[in-house]
Symmetry: C2
Subunit: 373 residues, 2 copies
């Protein structure tokens, strides 16, 4: 591994929250960190300058989507994902395991590989651990993920254990297949809501001595409390000297709960997807911009937010959504991503000052407080 | 009129092309100038910073659209269109005359007013010259347009003359209704393809001593040659000491032809609309980005273009369109608007160097040259 190093700077005195820096060949990532999702080599609606201005340091892209379109060879012809999309900071690619579960059609998994039909044109395709690594090496992300087997929750213990065991076997095959020294491969802990199985998976995965570890298979239907229980059990079994990545999570309150349990890295489509649907995260809780009460509201979404959307009024933003102007989704995506990045920056500050739990409680109280109309 | 002044700096020695500056309360506009179209208080997909970066100095918005949604009172509550949309440069509002012809349903025009049904919800509405002025005063644009009566071409001489006469009567009523000293009211010359009628309209309109004059009712189905003939006849009859605005035109070659006939100002949806449909204007003619030949084309759209899209490859831009990513339309809109602004900047330079006709011929040759595949 060249150019990768996880620097654990401080653990909060009152909880497991960690302030770290993950160094990559394309620069450092201050942790805890949130990655905006650039599924198909673009964070929906955002130009690279706008993306950088949100405060994002690391961006996620999806192996499954890029392999289908434009094809990893097209990305490789551009010298990889960095050059292709114009993002010169750290990039992480998901392996496709989650999309096999959530998006692909007629997915059949056996130990060799997953066979599925493309959600775009029904083409029959296969994805093996070796192929997932090869695609990610073509894409040239800084961090690649092992191929994992995701199952729906709740599910039978047999199905959950079978998928978790397969994920462990596949992690080893991914590690053995990886050839790039400038790409870090992260393992993925599966195991559903079974805390003992999660711990077992985390410990067996740690034997592979990977540069980072993720928790997968959450945010698939379980409650917030169930997720927090799993995290509380799992993170202590994950190596303390490697970054811990909670995949696909989540709401601001989920992030705070996970940070308190020692998670360092997140990704989620929520800020951009909700933004496209006129939902703005603010310091006083979410706003639904289509509401008539914003028709003449001259205030910005958040008084102290430095983003481009907050140079406009709620009245203008509402107008854009009511008129179907794409600038509405763009501006709210920018705002929500900025909200997430500012939340994480505040969290990092709270951790180094050993007051993360108080910070977290205060934020959650503010978001939940019913607003006067 | 406070803050308005048309400064005619130079007329090309070889043709009627003019280099001028139109001073407004929100700053100067170098002419000939092209206004991007922000129909509903947004240039589709562009943040204000991106819009400014294209080189645009003046932006157009539409009275008809804004009166319907969000309503001019909502815009006025924000202190007018500048504050509402966040554009602090000069703004021009069209009066709605063209939309009554192109978009509204069941439009019936008599001398009093136009009665029509909203294209959004079928509501029955009316627009009179007085109301068109009142709405534009609420919007607070720098330049307001008189309400004109636009008819389809070709048409009978009677219909064309009737609409042109009504446009003259309405221009006087608009002038008499206007109350804001910080808003310039431009007249509109109608008259179809009848050169004599156009000249008559231009001369009778000039009697109103308005701060600027437009040519309307073109780009509605006539050929390029017909349009140029009308322009060649009309512009000499328009006051030389006022800006001349050709409404809704057009293609790059149309702009060059009109500039040579003494036109100073343009607007058109073409750069943004075509951009949204994957068509890029380039120095070597238009490119259709969905074409397979761009799949691995690592070149930018234009080698010397400074826009955000040209920091990417044609391969990436094509991918965005094939994947349905909204960043594709955004980047191509940025590029096409930048192309138009650079074309106008080059035109201004050519005029002051008395070589506009040669410049224009050379550009048109380049755009028409068949490219090697």
């Amino acid at each position: 591994m060249n150019g990768f190093r996880f620097e654990l700077r401080h653990v909060d005195a009152g909880c497991a929250a960690r302030r770290g820096v993950f160094h990559t060949p394309h620069g450092p990532v201050d942790m805890p960190a949130f990655m905006p999702v650039g599924t198909r080599a673009a964070v929906k609606g955002l130009e690279i300058d706008q993306l950088r201005a949100t405060g994002a340091q690391m961006v996620l892209a999806n192996t499954y989507h890029l392999a289908l379109r434009p094809g990893e060879d097209v990305v490789a012809a551009a010298g990889g994902l960095h050059g292709f999309m114009g993002w010169d900071g750290p990039l992480l690619t998901d392996s496709g395991g989650f999309q096999l579960f959530s998006l692909a059609q007629m997915t059949q998994v056996d130990d060799r590989h997953a066979v599925f039909r493309s959600h775009i044109d029904g083409r029959r395709l296969e994805l093996s651990p070796e192929r997932a690594v090869a695609i990610q090496e073509s894409l040239g992300s800084d961090v690649a993920m092992v191929l994992d087997h995701v199952v729906a929750l709740p599910n039978t213990p047999e199905v959950v254990r079978d998928a978790a065991e397969r994920t462990l076997r596949w992690a080893r095959r991914c590690r053995d297949a990886a050839t790039r020294s400038d790409q870090a491969l992260f393992g993925i802990v599966q195991g559903g809501l079974d805390a003992a199985l999660r711990v077992e998976c985390a410990e067996r995965l740690a034997e592979l001595d990977l540069p980072g570890y993720a928790i997968g298979g959450l945010s698939v239907g379980e409650t917030h409390e169930e997720m927090v229980e799993v995290l509380a059990a799992t993170t202590p079994a994950m190596p303390a000297d490697r970054p811990r990545y909670l995949m696909g999570v989540g709401r601001p309150e989920d992030l705070l709960a996970a940070i308190a349990r020692g998670v360092d890295l997140f990704d989620c489509v929520m800020p951009t997807r909700n933004g496209r649907n006129a939902m703005a995260f603010t310091s006083e809780g979410p706003l639904r911009l289509r509401n008539l009460r914003f028709e003449r509201d001259q205030r910005p979404l958040d008084d102290d937010c430095p983003c481009a959307a907050c140079r406009r009024s709620r009245s203008y933003l509402r107008h854009l959504f009511m008129a179907g102007e794409m600038l509405g989704p763009i501006l709210l995506s920018i705002h929500n991503l900025t909200f997430y990045q500012r939340l994480l920056a505040d969290a990092r500050q709270a951790i180094v000052e050993d007051r993360f739990e108080a910070f977290s409680a205060e934020r959650r109280r503010r978001w939940e407080r019913p607003r006067t109309p």
